[in-house]
Symmetry: C2
């Protein structure tokens, strides 16, 4: 270990408990909650094994009028819930870490899809949720009931082994709603003055401390102001509340602003972007503070702890991307850290009600289901076969790396271009997407360390070359490219007029460097994610007049799932890109484009050039010629040919990485082309 | 029974099985799927008890590369799945009905959120789902594998007792994708000619019939053209496929067009709207045909069966609204049928990944969870108390009705207006929303039949009147109204300039009949559902120039969940209502309104009048004055005062009905103001 980093491994007293080091996986959703208790336990335990000294479970409502359905959350309503979640505490303890639980009440932000109960709030507030309606104003009896629920849940959590119990206030949940001058209009003892608005919070802390404070560390999560603030919450007020709570709290867990800022993506927020806000908390309390910042730099983390800006480095996304980050720091293997890209794939999956996933770490969430360990790999039964992986994009890099770790004698990763990375070579050049390149960088370093894997660039293989190569197993990972013909969803025929020199694809702009001859460029998007806005921003930054025309009702709907939508649209707007929504483009003329609007009415606009971001198509010619000639394969001694990534079907980068990983993990199964069934948790039938 | 309806009760041979009558609950999602097997069984069994001769379970993928997560579906991947779903077959059999299962493969429409497998399709097609990406083109080996999966699933279904096994093709799923000239671009034996495009379908039917045809009826669901058709599927082709399949099929289940048409809401589709399309199927096959049409009229149903337009009346929504519809027809109790409103609340809940719910039937989905039976009510332990329900809107009507059915000696339902219905009195007057009035009509008839319930209209009760009334239990259900001050989500302060005569609320327009003096009207909407578009259409139909200004990114986002969004926006457009999205209105002047756009830039437009559809506020003055004076209550002999519906928190009508029902079901619990914990199914811990 680098001695500068030793400070990160000093234990820290948290009330009655000792945190073994300064790495802490803050509470975050997994999509496993109470429904998948063994999957949850395995997902959390791997982080403890990887060196995180504290590991928390999902958000867990204490009261029945806070249910998060359809999202799957933990729940602490009764003893059966506690028993199920106790599996996680037990599994985390196996590795010497402390287990924490985010006891919370969502108030007006609860969906209550399971109970159909009215949402509750300090005052009658509109929910931001679809199926909106307003919230019920809590009576004094309701407040007392919720506090009793909190105490009961805390006792249950303690009884099943949790070490750290939260009175969770952040993210605009009920305690924050009470503290907000905007949302709390009460005129009783729970509204008005700072002390009154903080009363629910402080009382709950005291009650929980009284109940379990001798056995558990009492934590609270508090939001401080960020770039755009929180409605009705001012930082001086919050700092005062922290001081008032300091005696009863063993750990302050600090976050900033609204969720899109707190989980800020790398597009718009650098590592440690919260510090201007969280640093103020140190002045308000001498108690331990944990905060997040998408930290993956050991130097920066050590500096933060050394200066006591924070006492503990919190992480959600970096711990998903690399559960073994602390161990790698401890062992001085900094170059082996699989750094979070800040792309929020994890959150996009959560926002669409799926379980956790990660662009960097294909094993995230698969610890129980498929028995995948992020750092341990079994030797393949067919490791004596020579493997040729064609194409070093996300899928090919991942597959070759995992095959190497599974002990194959010889794996060749052959790439036609001069560098590995595949589509990431140009995607990481798009404005603000530089950190996505970490997907390539991590794999490049790993591949270089594997003696049994040879990476060959600048060599384009035709079918004949593959047959001659001498491999017994061939994996085709030649990727995809954007269509030049404008074929798009729901429109089976090409756009008319695409065979003109002023009609370009994203790769022609970003890789070939082609630029429109005129100044007025239309970027047409049916893809709905990052490519079209990225190309638009790039061209706009070069001085072109750019109109982003999209078939979607909003620009880049997928970015809403990754919490980036509003910021992305603001960026486009402030950079001067005009947007046109709900338009289907059907033809391109010399100096205009035309189509129809959402109601089928004709639509047209002037344009000197068009970039078509409609749909990808696989570069599958090699794969098809290989599998179409089984005799040639046999003659060449090739036992199997597999396709991975976009050759199978163009998909998001995270799914290509997953696909490459999956094949390598199962390369010695009976039929590696089909995923093995994975373990599923079942509902008890009686 | 009316003898004209006897035809509906004739048994019908379906292959080796006999359907006991002509009522059939077609497959539809419940949100319980494989995750809540006992909840599922109880939800389906109640329909069998209510007289539906055939009852189907949720859609159940046969292959692991068709998983519907995050939606909860049934699944027939292995024997554990079959065991869980067998509970439903068993429960349905208890009441003499046949149990059916919708075995299916979603193809490019599968989310695959659980497996992270590539979606599959006949040809590489774009998925319509967020996190799009394209689908994998199925190889011949893949097709054979899926067919083997179908056969295995069919065997499992038979083995656990299902009587009717589907080869389910409708709704654009995999078999339909193969049949579509738009989506199937294959050049092998599964693409091209009609016979080739139908090959997957027919082969699968034959294989399934061979495997289980002696024991089970073989059903297939097929889509025929509707108003807007299905991409790449022509009705003559489909009729030919039906003829080709006729020998191997025991039951044709016919639907039309895309889902928003198939589950067409009452706003845009009348009862039986599919008949112009489904009637053609009779010419193509002599085999039994089931079809849906939101049928609740026994005369119409009998006519359809008598003329053999259909052999069996299918239902999803009408069977959710009234599981006892067949029994009520059989017993000549037509006026007691709880008719489906066609509001698609059930589907809106499904689309937001919640379990089934219904605006008409609060017990839907609560059969196992809360033990609620739609037609049976236990006598309340405190039935000797006199109950006063104040306010006969959705919550009050429902509560009084259920209290009556629970055998209270005396329930008085007192309404200030001249008629019962509450907000439904004007909501049902909005263009296209007439059928929503069935919520009132059903309850009016039921209330009239209950000797122990007295309905008193035209009497407005003040607190003093309530104290004097002589009731021991008081339920306040006085509803809500739209705010006149324009307070809206995220904006704590009123809109400037609202105190002018040209600023109106929806009730002032619809109930008081006030009309703008000028011609240019802005309807401003932050509510996001049906009110603003309804008022806009109403005023437009009277000749006003109407601009619908909304804070949302799309007009009426909630209508997307009920499948109405596109049609609603088309209607507004074709009626000449202009829409402006992403606008926050902040002030109203004499002849203009102004605010800011989504980027915070100033926005203004000319207007002679404004209708504010921002937020509701409860009419809770009576409730507050009662509970604020407990001594007066005691003196008056009032033991308890409860609030239900919008008095608690303004919410959708379905939730008010649910709230009123819940209170009445639990009026004799220890604390009726708090819902009792409901039964939850648990994940096995080992």
């Amino acid at each position: 270990m680098d001695p500068r980093h030793a400070v990160l491994f000093e234990p820290l007293q948290l009330g009655p408990k000792v945190l073994p080091n300064r790495f802490y996986q803050v509470p975050h959703a997994s999509g496993f909650g109470i429904e998948r208790p063994r999957t949850q336990a395995a997902f959390r335990a791997i982080k403890a094994e990887g060196g995180w000294g504290g590991v928390c479970v999902d958000y867990a409502p204490v009261s029945r009028d806070s249910d998060e359905s359809p999202a799957v959350s933990a729940v602490f309503w009764d003893d059966d819930d506690a028993r199920a979640l106790g599996l996680t505490a037990e599994a985390v303890h196996t590795h010497g870490a402390l287990a924490g639980v985010e006891l919370f009440h969502g108030g007006a932000l609860s969906e209550n899809g399971h109970s159909r109960s009215a949402r509750v709030a300090p005052s009658q507030a509109v929910s931001e949720l679809m199926w909106g309606g307003l919230a019920k104003e809590l009576s004094l009896a309701d407040i007392a009931r919720i506090q009793r629920d909190w105490v009961s849940a805390a006792r249950r959590a303690r009884d099943v082994g949790f070490d750290i119990v939260y009175v969770y206030g952040a993210h605009g949940y009920l305690l924050t709603q009470f503290f907000s001058t905007h949302l709390n209009r009460r005129t009783d003892s729970y509204g008005g003055s700072l002390a009154n608005r903080g009363r629910f919070w402080l009382e709950t802390l005291e009650l929980v401390r009284e109940a379990v404070g001798d056995d558990c560390a009492i934590a609270t999560r508090i939001p401080v102001h960020g770039r755009d603030g929180l409605p009705g919450i001012e930082t001086p007020d919050m700092l005062q509340l922290i001081t008032m709570a300091s005696d009863v709290v063993d750990l302050f867990d600090v976050n900033v602003g609204e969720w899109p800022e707190d989980s800020g993506t790398s597009r718009y927020y650098p590592e440690g972007h919260e510090r201007p806000w969280t640093d103020q908390v140190r002045q308000a309390t001498p108690k331990p503070i944990v905060g997040v910042g998408r930290y993956t730099s050991a130097d920066l983390m050590a500096d933060i702890v050394r200066t006591r800006s924070l006492d503990i480095i919190g992480a959600a996304r970096p711990a998903i991307a690399d559960p073994f980050l602390p161990r790698k720091v401890a062992e001085g293997r900094l170059d082996e850290i699989r750094e979070c890209t800040g792309s929020n794939v994890c959150i996009a999956r959560e926002e669409t009600f799926n379980h956790v996933g990660c662009i960097q770490n294909a094993t995230a969430g698969e610890e129980f289901r498929r028995g995948w360990h992020p750092e341990l790999f079994t030797k393949a039964a067919n490791a004596d076969r020579a493997v040729l992986v064609v194409g070093a994009g996300p899928a090919g890099m991942e597959c070759a790396m995992v095959l190497g770790k599974r002990g194959f004698d010889a794996v060749h990763l052959v790439e036609a271009e001069s560098d590995i990375g595949g589509r990431l070579r140009w995607v990481r050049q798009l404005p603000t997407l530089g950190d996505w390149g970490r997907v390539t960088d991590y794999r490049a370093i790993q591949l270089a360390k594997l003696d049994n894997v040879e990476v060959i660039t600048g060599r384009r293989l035709a079918a004949a070359n593959v047959l001659d190569y001498g491999a017994q197993i061939v994996v085709v990972a030649t990727g995809s490219h954007f269509r030049a013909d404008g074929v798009q969803p729901h429109e089976p025929t090409p756009i008319v007029g695409v065979d003109q020199p002023h009609v370009l694809t994203p790769e022609q702009v970003m890789v070939e460097g082609r630029r429109p001859s005129g100044r007025r460029v239309v970027v047409y998007d049916t893809d709905g994610y990052f490519v079209a806005p990225g190309v638009a921003e790039q061209l706009r930054s070069e001085g072109f007049t750019v109109d982003l025309v999209t078939s979607h009702a909003v620009v880049s709907p997928t970015s809403d799932a990754s919490l980036e939508g509003d910021m992305l649209r603001d960026h486009l707007h402030s950079s001067g890109v005009q947007v046109h929504r709900g338009i289907t483009l059907t033809s391109v003329a010399a100096s205009a484009v035309s189509g129809r609007d959402e109601f089928g009415d004709a639509w047209t606009m002037d344009a000197d050039a068009v970039v078509l971001v409609t749909q990808q198509q696989p570069a599958d010619a090699l794969y098809r010629s290989l599998v179409d000639d089984p005799d040639a394969l046999t003659a060449a001694g090739i036992e199997a040919v597999y396709a991975i990534g976009d050759v199978v079907a163009p998909r998001p980068i995270s799914e290509s990485v997953f696909d490459g990983h999956r094949l390598a993990r199962e390369i010695d199964s009976a039929d590696p082309s089909e995923p093995l069934p994975y373990r599923r948790e079942r509902t008890a039938l009686s």
